[in-house]
């Protein structure tokens, strides 16, 4: 039995040694917004934050993140009725197509903007190239990140980013 803190909530789960965090999140915690794409940290669909840093949950043993703060796509909005600035930008740019990769894209984008609120095109590409989108919405993802970045700088206080 291990104890995990996901989106501020405590979970006690059975996780065999070596079991990746992804499957604990999806199957045991039933938070299905985090996706399985490749299982070898190649596609980024499983990206979540551990203590604010983006990690690939498909290769991260659940036991290694005990006691740390885990955030999934379900946990980034400030409250139930308000979207995160990045999620809002994603809607405004009409970014997703099939949508399957977008949780991972958004988690990578949020982490990028936390580190660097005004990234250049090159910095965006560098930060986002670990996330594959087979619908090819890279142009819109980039635009959405820039839009979020602008919104972030416009909001002088409480950027709502975690």
């Amino acid at each position: 039995m291990i104890n995990l803190t996901i989106n501020g909530k405590e979970y006690s789960v059975e996780a065999p040694a070596g079991m990746p965090l992804l499957w604990v999140i999806r199957e045991q915690c039933e938070l299905t917004g985090t996706k399985f794409g490749c299982g070898i940290a190649q596609c980024g669909a499983c990206t979540v934050h551990v203590d604010g840093k983006p990690i690939r949950s498909c290769i991260t043993p659940a036991t290694s993140v005990e006691g740390k703060k885990i955030t999934t796509i379900e946990g980034i909005a400030p409250d139930e009725n308000t979207l995160h600035i990045v999620q809002q930008a994603w809607i405004e740019e009409q970014t997703p197509q099939c949508g399957y990769c977008q949780s991972g894209q958004i988690m990578s984008a949020v982490a990028l903007l936390n580190e660097n609120p005004a990234p250049s095109d090159e910095e965006i590409e560098q930060a986002m190239s670990g996330n594959i989108c087979r619908c090819g919405m890279y142009g819109r993802i980039k635009s959405a990140i820039k839009r979020a970045s602008a919104a972030l700088q416009a909001s002088t206080s409480n950027p709502q980013l975690r």
């Binding site: 065999p16 979207l83 989108c133 090819g136």
Partner: protein, 741 residues
């Protein structure tokens, strides 16, 4: 989005709740008892099978297509709502159920088999005005870029217009005023002269009693209020919050997980596997020998996968065990040579006398092209949840073909279609892969061995190695030019012909043509891959015409223009792309520009790629300008997004996409060796739409076929190297750059 879980309501009858149903009688008969209680909400009026109106004046549009990112739920709802003059802010949608009462399995099967004629019994009973609608809507396949072209144009618009006519008639009857004096706007009908208004909801019960018009009047383009605009897509909010449910996300009470390993060589059988469960394995419930695959059922995917990886599975040998990709291509060349020698090729198209014209030509250009197998690599690996119990089966999956799923399950279990329920979910990418039922049949074969629901999840490795692939192929092309550089003969011999049938057509005016094909056997399973045969022929035709332009010493764009003077739509597309791509402006050294154009799925798309080839021979596609004439873009932003998507999908294939066979099996396994385009490799894409006034064309596929030749033509422009074998990464471009710099 709410799903119907019970039989849909085709037919005419009055619900127990008092709501009225006017349905389309696919097969007339008393459906009242089956209908009663189905539509759930008290007081709702179902105007026809594609829309219902709720007491709060909400219009719900029923969409018979799967959402895989193409925005079909929004676009089709718009088409109906526009004709209905519905208040868009109060329009909802629900996906139509997979149900034989709703869409006949026999007909669907005919469509799958390529037989588009209808059984006589059905023809006779299709109700007049909805004849065309039912013909298309009764299939639930989502593919062929067909949703807007057929379902939208011939179904949704008619359904919306018919319901509006019925509502207007009801208002005229109620107020006893001439129907011509009524105005319909935002789900309300008004009679300005008498200052009366009523909402659609208020009029719906009376309207449902009005006979549906035989030929409802459709709007002309100047009357559209929604079509041609780009309202926010209805499916997007759930996709940014993590709440959207894909097949992979289904959670059914008491569900367990399974994963599978099929024989690496296609068609091989399991020779031996120890199905006992080791005492140190955690959470493993069952190891199943499925003859051509081994599956493990466990408490979770991870436990199932760990067990599967431990198993020492032996497979029977097959005649293909030693086959390599080289063997396959050699076999294709031999088959082509033999067919040519025996003159046994099938004719695709012939005009004039290509042989004579070639022998009399001033210049003859000849080339052989080669294309690789391609996997679909949808972001969401294949999966399906199945529960077999009490002679019934329930399926949760994301399918482009829910009725095909239903039929496959019924056949496998030898139960009637009535006993199969398909809960279709969002698709994490389709691209043709999710029109197949192989994974569904596996899930059922596993689930029938246990008494609980099982979610079968394929690893990415399984997904890569057991896809149904776009064919690998070779092609031989030959053309003759006269002294002025005008093409006088065109000869093309290709392999395999699937669909659409016109894919190998030459759009250019060449007087003597001979286009033929032959179909050697292949043990690698074939499947529909975004744009299907156009993905092959777009590259072949548009590369070769570029070779001809070079041989004729003409500008590639001007050359194409000169050969399409009988095609005004092509002329306009070429004119616009010449302007928008800055075609005539100079580029830096080692940069090149390439153009390609093709008509597919009713849309004409041209693309100009701007590439740079650096000293290491690395190709960077900086910019792609896309000009499309889809006739009319119903949702321009959605159409633009589809162009962008098709370009990146085709670019990934062109640059690095290659499945190879080694020892009879697929050599690639995951995104590290089946590489796809990432953000740092993605070009800037600029899309321009021409609304030419022609019938709406497809959006999901037509931008894919032309990107590969646009890029290889640009590479030729930059380096002088003609790439005749895809993917591009196979060609070493370093030397060419050293030579030109």
């Amino acid at each position: 989005m709410k799903k119907w879980t019970r039989r849909a309501f085709i037919g005419t009858g009055i619900l127990a709740s008092g709501a009225l149903v006017i349905g389309v009688a696919i097969r007339p008969g008393n459906r009242s008892s089956k209908v009663a209680g189905l539509i759930a909400e008290e007081g709702e009026t179902v105007m026809n099978i594609w829309l219902k109106i709720s007491p709060d004046n909400t219009v719900t549009v029923i969409i018979p297509h799967a959402e895989m990112g193409q925005g079909v739920h929004t676009t089709l709802a718009m088409m109906l709502a526009d004709e209905l003059d519905a208040d868009w802010s109060k329009v909802k949608f629900m996906e139509a159920p997979a149900d034989k009462e709703y869409a006949n399995y026999v007909v669907a099967k005919g469509f799958i088999a390529g037989n588009k004629t209808f059984p006589k019994f059905l023809e006779e009973t299709i109700d007049g005005v909805f004849l065309t609608a039912v013909k298309t809507m009764n299939f639930q396949i989502t593919g062929g870029s067909a949703s807007v072209r057929f379902t939208g144009q011939q179904g949704m618009r008619i359904a919306g217009a018919a319901a509006k006519a019925m509502l207007l008639q009801a208002a005229a009857d109620t107020w006893k005023v001439p129907i011509e004096e009524l105005k319909a706007k935002k789900s309300t009908i008004s009679h300005p002269a008498s200052n009366q208004t009523a909402t659609y909801a208020e009029l719906a019960p009376a309207a449902a009693k009005v006979k549906a018009p035989k030929q409802p009047k459709l709007k002309t383009r100047d009357e559209f209020t929604l079509m041609g605009t780009s309202p926010a897509r209805l499916d997007i909010p759930a996709k940014v919050s993590g709440q959207a449910k894909f097949g992979m996300d289904m959670i059914v009470p008491n569900m367990k997980y399974a994963t599978i390993k099929a024989a690496p060589v296609f068609g091989a059988k399991v020779k031996s596997v120890d199905t006992s469960i080791p005492s140190d394995s955690e959470g493993v419930l069952k190891v199943l020998n499925l003859e051509n695959a081994v599956a493990v059922i466990a408490q979770g995917y991870w436990q199932a996968k760990s067990m599967l990886d431990r198993l020492a599975i032996k497979f029977e040998s097959t005649e293909n065990d030693g086959k390599s990709q080289e063997d396959i291509f050699n076999g294709y060349r031999l088959a082509m040579d033999k067919a040519l020698e025996e003159a046994s090729l099938s004719e695709h198209y012939q005009s004039g006398d290509a042989h004579s014209a070639l022998s009399g030509a001033e210049t003859v250009v000849e080339a052989e092209y080669q294309l690789p197998f391609l996997a679909h690599a949808t972001m969401e690996p294949m999966n399906c949840t199945a529960w077999v119990h009490d002679g019934k089966c329930e399926i949760w999956c994301g399918s482009q073909n829910p009725l095909g799923v239903m039929a496959a399950v019924a056949e496998l279990l030898d139960i009637s279609l009535d006993q199969v329920t398909v809960h279709n979910q969002l698709l994490g990418g389709g691209f043709g892969r999710r029109s197949e039922t192989d994974v569904i049949r596996q899930a059922v074969a596993i689930a029938k061995e246990v008494d609980f629901p099982v979610k079968l999840i394929w690893s990415r490795e399984e997904d890569t190695q057991h896809d149904l692939y776009r064919e690998a192929t070779i092609s031989r092309m030959k053309a003759g030019l006269d002294q002025s550089g005008n093409p006088v003969a065109y000869s093309h011999q290709f392999l395999f012909k699937h669909h659409p049938p016109e894919a190998a057509d030459l759009p250019y005016a060449v007087p003597n043509q001979l286009i033929q094909f032959t179909s050697p056997s292949s043990f690698v399973p074939w499947g529909n891959w975004r744009s299907v045969d156009h993905s092959v022929h777009g590259f072949l035709t548009e590369s070769f015409i570029d070779e001809l332009a070079f041989a004729a010493k003409k500008d590639p764009l001007a050359f194409r223009k000169s050969l399409t003077q009988d095609k005004p739509r092509f002329q306009k597309v070429l004119d616009l792309i010449q302007e928008k791509s800055d075609w005539d402006s100079p580029l830096p050294a080692n940069w090149g520009r390439g153009i390609a154009i093709a008509q597919s799925f009713g849309s004409i798309v041209a693309e100009v790629a701007e590439v740079e080839v650096n000293v290491e021979g690395k190709v960077k596609v900086h910019r792609v300008v896309c000009v499309a004439d889809p006739g009319f873009a119903i949702h321009p932003d959605g159409f633009t997004a589809q162009m962008e998507s098709g370009i990146i999908y085709g670019l990934a294939a062109a640059m690095t996409g290659e499945i190879t066979i080694e020892n009879g099996a697929v050599a690639q396994s995951n995104f590290h060796d089946y590489q796809v385009t990432r953000m740092n490799e993605a070009p800037k894409i600029e899309t321009h739409i021409i609304n030419s006034g022609n019938p709406p064309g497809g959006a999901g596929e037509p931008s894919t076929p032309v990107i590969a030749p646009a890029v290889t033509n640009a590479i030729f422009n930059a380096t002088g190297v003609r790439i005749r074998r895809l993917p591009i990464s196979k060609t070493d471009l370093r030397v060419s750059i050293r030579q030109t710099t």
